[in-house]
């Protein structure tokens, strides 16, 4: 049997350039046996949608540390418009409680706050990947 590791996009959209967190998470997911497409910060939404589509990722992780997180609902919209609603989106970083509800309402699967464990993040990505693949049996 061949291995079919989860494929994850770790990215940052908007103007926030604090990329230490996304690098740490990308490395942890790699060490958990996942294939991680990593981008530098400052991606625009159209580029992220095209990338996620071409790479056929299971999960997109968006890191936000400087109040850019309210761009994420626009990303959700763009993913739906491209027919990519089966890709799960998680957000990690500094997200006020009131905004977390908005993100979840927009379709974000999970928000990870400061202090989250890398093992928990990897476990959630694994769970979301299994759920997506159970849905898309090819």
């Amino acid at each position: 049997m061949t291995t079919q590791p989860p494929k994850v996009l770790v990215t940052k959209i908007g103007l926030d350039g604090h990329d230490r967190g996304s690098r740490v998470v990308a490395s942890a997911l790699r060490d958990a046996g996942m294939e991680v497409v990593y981008t530098p910060p400052w991606q625009d939404i159209a580029a992220v949608v095209k990338l996620a589509m071409e790479e056929d990722v299971d999960v997109i992780g968006v890191s936000s540390l400087a109040t850019d997180h309210l761009i994420v609902p626009k990303l959700m919209q763009a993913l739906r418009a491209a027919g990519l609603q089966d890709i799960a989106v998680i957000v990690g970083g500094i997200v006020p409680d009131a905004d977390e509800a908005k993100l979840l309402e927009a379709g974000v699967a999970k928000v990870f706050h400061p202090g989250s464990s890398l093992a928990d993040i990897a476990a959630e990505v694994g769970r979301l990947t299994r759920a997506r693949r159970a849905l898309n049996v090819t």
Binding site: R30, E35, V36, E54
Partner: protein, 319 residues
């Protein structure tokens, strides 16, 4: 939730019609070697052989991805569509990978005429992944004019790209080793074009001279490999490189990958892979005994391998 899955109903038709999402999904099926992926590849066969495939290899940090990005720009400006397959290494410990080639491909990533796919090597040793050749086939069938395959950062013997590309570019950063390195067998031998990238660095002149000296000692028939200087970050030398690739393709048109020789090599590679996996999976007393006889020195490897293949074929017949 099924709205997003419609594209997979007839993957072949969708791919031939240029549907990018169907293409991406098919690549996953091929990469994961699913039954659907194998069936699709079979149906794909009559639709192959139109695209030109360029292989780009060289050591880590040579500037392969940046040069690929510059070439994408050159081909787009000449009216071509471009597919890219970029391979990065999987960890031998966790199996995970960071796929970071496409981030060097900047603005072209967002261009609708460009399709970039990153693959992890998944333990395959030749500088590519086991399924890379078939992912290229998918891009070919989808109608991309130029396909670029970028290997993992390669050492001296990751020469598999030679098998699947029409034209092979080896990127040599300045100042890697002395003239003896340039004489060695392996990666430098497969080059149709040797690119001294980062040519603004001080040791570029020496590297270029050493490569030229290496080439002068060999004999070639259809095509004599060329040495070219580029600075991928500024675009210097890139138009010349695109021209040279074109010239090579014309000169070697009879040896293209669509030619029978490639199919022969791919069947051989696929058969070797099948036998290897089956032998590794052999179980039972007879195989244990065979191993023991080799270990004790009673039997040599050359005799043992034929017997192992016989065991595989017998097991196959019984199955």
């Amino acid at each position: 939730m099924s709205a997003g899955l419609q594209a997979d109903a007839n993957p072949l038709a969708a791919i031939l019609a240029g549907e990018r999402r169907a293409l991406a999904r098919a690549m996953s099926a091929v990469e994961n070697e699913t039954a659907a992926g194998k069936a699709l590849l079979h149906e794909l066969q009559p639709h192959l052989g139109r695209a030109r495939v360029l292989g780009v290899t060289g050591p880590p940090g040579a500037g392969k991805s940046t040069l690929v990005s510059a070439l994408i720009g050159a081909w787009l400006s000449r009216g071509a569509t471009v597919g890219v397959v970029a391979v990065d290494p999987s960890s031998p410990f966790s199996g995970g990978a960071i796929l970071g080639d496409r981030i060097r491909m900047g603005a072209h990533q967002a261009d609708e005429r460009v399709f970039i796919r990153s693959l992890a090597s998944r333990g395959h040793g030749g500088g590519l992944s086991r399924t890379a050749a078939r992912v290229i086939d998918l891009l070919d069938a989808a109608g991309y004019d130029q396909i670029i395959v970028e290997t993992v950062g390669a050492g001296q013997s990751e020469v598999e790209v030679a098998e699947i590309a029409d034209t092979r570019v080896v990127v040599c950063p300045p100042g890697l080793g002395d003239e003896v390195q340039a004489l060695k067998a392996g990666i430098l031998e497969i080059a149709d074009i040797l690119v001294v990238n980062k040519a603004d660095l001080p040791l570029a002149d020496r590297t270029e001279r050493e490569l030229l000296a290496m080439l002068s000692l060999r004999h070639y028939d259809v095509w004599t490999p060329q040495v070219l200087r580029t600075i991928a970050t500024s675009g210097e030398g890139v138009a010349e490189l695109a021209d040279l690739i074109e010239r090579h393709a014309l000169a070697c048109a009879s040896q293209r990958r669509s030619h029978g020789g490639r199919v022969r090599r791919l069947i051989a590679a696929s058969a070797a892979d099948w036998v290897k996996r089956r032998v590794e999976g052999l179980a039972g007393d007879e195989f244990e005994e065979l191993c023991a006889r080799v270990q004790s020195g009673e039997l040599d490897y050359a005799s043992a391998d034929l017997r192992a293949v016989a065991l595989v074929l017998r097991a196959e017949k019984q199955a």
